[in-house]
């Protein structure tokens, strides 16, 4: 590890010496432009859920918000159960998830359960498809505007769903944002497996969650900003039986603590941003029926620093460094697991003309006990108001999870990192100022050393192995067409996504044929949405479809879902806000995971008051 630390220091010192020389030669020729935002790559960061929706109180979790927006496929085990995102045919663990630029998914499983992620404190939820193998799902809590703002409200819904949230933000030099949230649900929805079987009701599915989040933003001086983010939540949820099991008494308790301290220096020549983060998750899974108790926990300390500087008016350079130490404990580990890693990144963005950008990015990660992993990304794009395009070629990696490395039996310390080579092309054409646009996105990605738990003839039992390759390719077409007829306005949106993601190397056990589509990855999905706005009333209908997919035990049928929403929304986001929504309007009986029933028709309604005292 010592050599990596030396390397890191050298990286930073040399990188900045070189940069300083460049700055010295260019300072007199051109004005240095300094931004106080992070370096944005050429590729689009797509906003998945608007801030307004995040704060609307409609969503119990991020999983629900992402499902509602329909741009990502969310794989869920049922209402209130584990949910992960499937991004363009990638495995869930290949999509990195960051909160204010800090990776927060569990290093043990590589996952973050989106069904437990509250949204009230988040201001941005989006994705950059060209970062990490399966993209980077980013969550951001931004500095609030000045002036006191209070949000208070509650939501009730079918199957005992209840949410109470309260948020307050404001301040001037010291700005704050504080929120609390209480979620409760019985989730005892009825379901009918087929017309010949009597209706059943989900059991052992109750959920209770308490969340407390606080962010402080302190402007020490014109040059120095401090941010402190605290996130604490406790969840207790029961784990329902499958549809082919009589009952379940299993439950899981999750306690999550996330803290970040960020120091931002706005220099004359550059912006420095240093973060210290501590992540802690304690999970207690128990199934009294089978006398099983499985506690597990991890702690991560992350020190991350970025330096961003402009050279002249057209070039921006960013150097980043992240050191992370994780310790983890689980019944399946022989002893407390520890993993130290060091990440180095360097980006250069050059603007050739007013709208034409080119960027190159290189990254390396040194992980204790692993081979060094390298990645790079090069992008080019033109961004005009009426037309834009972006082309990206990128290589990324994903290191094995701690469970892949350490779990006994089957963990393999010799596992290599997965690596991918991908290309993407995005084209957008806009035709009016209200936001009418059509977008076409094409992507292609090959992942080598795909990690799969498998059984091989030369090794007894199951073990994690770099056993196959996966080729993902697809297209996404999206149309947004706003309209206005007198006092009636609205928006028509439609989205279609084709994803072909196939194993390229056959595996005997599990049974995988070459050319077979990945499990739980529908080839076709899309939605059509019509929103009508009359003064402060908004009515919308969304119809989405998902094609059939293959599961581990059975194939899953495709399905259509309808959703209708009625909202009373005051102007300028103040005053009383009321909504009523009906999900699964047509009472479709469907499943996303086999043997895991999903709820039929369900409603929710909520009240929010937004006060500017």
């Amino acid at each position: 590890m010592r050599k990596y630390l030396l390397l890191a220091v050298s990286w930073f010192v040399l990188g900045h010496c070189a940069l300083a020389q460049v700055l010295d030669t260019t300072l007199e020729l051109s004005q240095v432009v300094v931004r106080d935002t992070a370096l944005r790559p050429v590729s689009l960061e797509e906003q998945l859920v608007s801030t307004e929706q995040l704060h609307s109180g409609k969503y119990f979790s991020l999983a629900e918000a992402l499902q509602d927006e329909g741009l990502l496929f969310v794989k869920t085990y049922g209402l209130g159960s584990l949910a992960t995102a499937n991004v363009r045919g990638a495995a869930a663990s290949q999509t990195s998830i960051s909160w204010n630029d800090i990776p927060i998914q569990s290093p043990m499983l590589g996952l973050l359960d989106l069904s437990l992620l509250p949204v009230v404190q988040l201001d941005e939820v989006g994705i950059n498809y060209n970062q990490a193998i399966g993209g980077n799902l980013f969550l951001r809590t931004n500095r609030p505007d000045t002036g006191l703002l209070i949000l208070d409200g509650f939501t009730v819904g079918s199957f005992g769903q209840f949410q109470k949230s309260f948020a307050v933000q404001g301040g001037s030099r010291l700005r704050f944002k504080l929120s609390t949230q209480l979620d409760k649900a019985r989730n005892d929805f009825p379901f009918q497996l087929n017309p010949n079987v009597p209706e059943k009701r989900q059991t052992n599915a109750e959920l209770e969650q308490q969340v407390f989040q606080q962010s402080l933003f302190f402007q020490l001086s014109a040059k120095h900003q401090f941010e402190l983010h605290l996130w604490q939540q406790a969840t207790h949820r029961q784990l329902p039986p499958t549809s082919v099991a009589t009952s379940s008494l299993a439950y899981q308790k999750d306690e999550v603590y996330r803290q970040q301290l960020r120091w931002k220096i706005l220099g004359r020549k550059a912006v420095w941003q240093t973060s210290l983060a501590h992540l802690r998750e304690d999970i207690f899974y128990a199934d009294p029926t089978i006398l099983l108790e499985a506690p597990s926990d991890f702690r991560s300390w992350i020190l991350q620093t970025k330096r961003q500087a402009s050279i002249g008016q057209n070039t921006t350079i960013e150097t980043s460094l992240r050191a992370q130490r994780t310790t983890a404990v689980a019944n399946g580990y022989a002893e407390r697991g520890q993993q130290d890693l060091l990440y180095l990144g360097q980006s250069i963005v050059h603007q050739f003309a007013k709208t034409l950008k080119f960027s190159v990015n290189g990254e390396a990660q040194f992980t204790q006990g692993q081979r060094a992993a390298y990645g790079w990304r090069t992008e080019m794009g033109r961004d005009r108001a009426d037309f834009s395009w972006q082309l990206s070629v990128h290589r990324h990696f994903r290191i094995p999870t701690l469970n892949d490395l350490l779990w006994i039996p089957g963990g393999s310390p010799q596992l290599r990192a997965e690596s991918s080579l991908g290309q993407s092309l995005n084209v957008r054409k806009s035709w009016n100022k209200r936001g009418g646009q059509i977008r076409l996105e094409l992507f292609n990605r090959n992942v080598d050393n795909w990690i799969q738990w498998a059984q091989r003839d030369d090794r007894p039992g199951w073990s994690a192995q770099n056993v196959t390759e996966v080729w993902s390719r697809g297209a996404q077409v999206r149309l947004d067409q706003p309209f206005q007829w007198g006092r009636l306005g609205g928006m028509f949106r439609t989205n279609y996504q084709w994803t072909r993601s196939t194993y390229q190397v056959a595996v005997v056990n599990p049974s995988i044929d070459a050319g077979e589509q990945l499990w739980y990855t529908p080839e076709h999905q899309g939605f059509v949405q019509l929103k009508l706005q009359y003064e402060m009333l908004q009515l919308s209908y969304t119809h989405r479809f998902v094609s059939e997919s293959a599961g581990i035990n059975d194939d899953l049928e495709g399905y259509d879902l309808g959703e209708v929403q009625l909202e009373y929304r005051p102007p300028n986001n103040t005053g009383n806000h009321i909504f009523l929504r009906v999900n699964n309007l047509w009472n479709t009986q469907y499943r996303i995971i086999e043997r895991r029933p999903m709820p039929g028709q369900q409603w929710s309604m909520g009240y929010r008051v937004t006060i500017h005292p």
Binding site: V197, V244, A245, I290, I408, I552, R595
Partner: protein
């Protein structure tokens, strides 16, 4: 008629051959105990050898285990050694358990090699039985969501002689394929399987298959319990016989060490087992007084098993 007489003659000659019944009782396990770790990777008893692979690092086993556990109520993996009747055949205390995700052999030894195996008793384990009856997080409840799925749990026994398959016998440990669901069943009592149709064999192979199969293979827990394997011949492995070596273990209870006066046999091994059957130490015995440190053992009861050239013997001791 001549053919029938010939068949009767052949059958009689088979039955008249001396038989050895492997009933596992000689392992002398107490109620609730199991052995999942064989001294030399093999449980040798009667005229059969049962392969066992215990992985100390993973605390896992494959092949065969010997069990006297009696839990018929607790579902799940933690109760993987119990038979669904809570005992061996005919209420006996001890029986064999195999994990047969892949085919598992019973090797014949001594005079049984190349002779027919008359038969044996089988039963579901509690883990598999309750999983099929109620379902669990991995496996389905037999009959499925509407009770009509034609599920089955099938034990296939193949005979092998000189590497060639002689024949096979099938036995349904659970069968839900009946038109009339009231006839569906899961075996919970010891059932006899006639293995004479396999002919002369030097080993038999047990494999399990189920209708509940996913991409990761069979979901139904791949366990089956076996008792009273009836082979030809007389016992050849004297090590498999309990003999009274007349040794004492002292002090008992003990704190730091135990002593064992050994005079009976020049070549002997001792092994200490926890009460759950897990072996925690092996020792070569010398003539005279042998001292074994138990300082690092947690307090509790232990079994000391001695294997000499004439057979084996056990003593129980307590660590204070």
């Amino acid at each position: 008629m001549k053919n029938n007489l010939l068949l009767l003659f052949l059958l009689s000659s088979v039955l008249l051959t001396a038989q050895v019944t492997v009933d596992f009782e000689e392992f002398n396990l107490m109620e609730g105990q199991f052995l999942n770790q064989a001294a030399n990777d093999t449980f040798s008893t009667g005229n059969v050898a049962l392969f066992n692979d215990y992985n100390e690092n993973y605390d896992s086993w494959s092949g065969w285990a010997i069990s006297a556990t009696t839990d018929t109520e607790t579902p799940g993996f933690m109760n993987q050694y119990s038979s669904s009747s809570g005992a061996g055949f005919d209420g006996s205390s001890t029986y064999g358990v195999t994990f047969a995700f892949s085919p598992v052999p019973i090797e014949l030894t001594g005079e049984a090699v190349g002779e027919p195996v008359t038969g044996m008793y089988v039963n579901n384990g509690t883990y598999a039985y309750l999983s099929m009856r109620d379902g669990d997080t991995v496996a389905k409840k037999f009959g499925g969501e509407d009770g009509n799925d034609p599920d089955f749990f099938l034990l296939t026994i193949k005979g092998e002689l000189n590497g060639e398959i002689t024949d096979s016998v099938e036995f349904y440990l659970a069968d839900y394929r009946f038109e009339d669901n009231s006839q569906d069943y899961i075996i919970t009592e010891w059932s006899y399987i006639d293995l004479l149709p396999l002919g002369n064999v030097d080993r038999i192979l047990l494999s399990l298959s189920s209708s509940d199969v996913g991409q990761f293979g069979m979901n139904t827990p791949a366990y089956v319990c076996v008792d009273n394997i009836i082979t030809a011949g007389t016992p050849t492995s004297v090590v498999d016989q309990r003999v009274d070596y007349g040794f004492k273990v002292f002090p008992n209870p003990s704190t730091n060490f135990i002593q064992l006066d050994w005079a009976a046999d020049a070549n002997a091994q001792a092994a200490i087992f926890q009460m759950d059957g897990r072996m925690i130490g092996q020792y070569e015995l010398q003539n005279g007084t042998n001292t074994i440190s138990v300082r690092n053992l947690p307090m509790g009861s232990y079994i000391l098993r001695v294997e000499g050239e004439e057979g084996w013997d056990v003593r129980r001791f307590i660590k204070q």
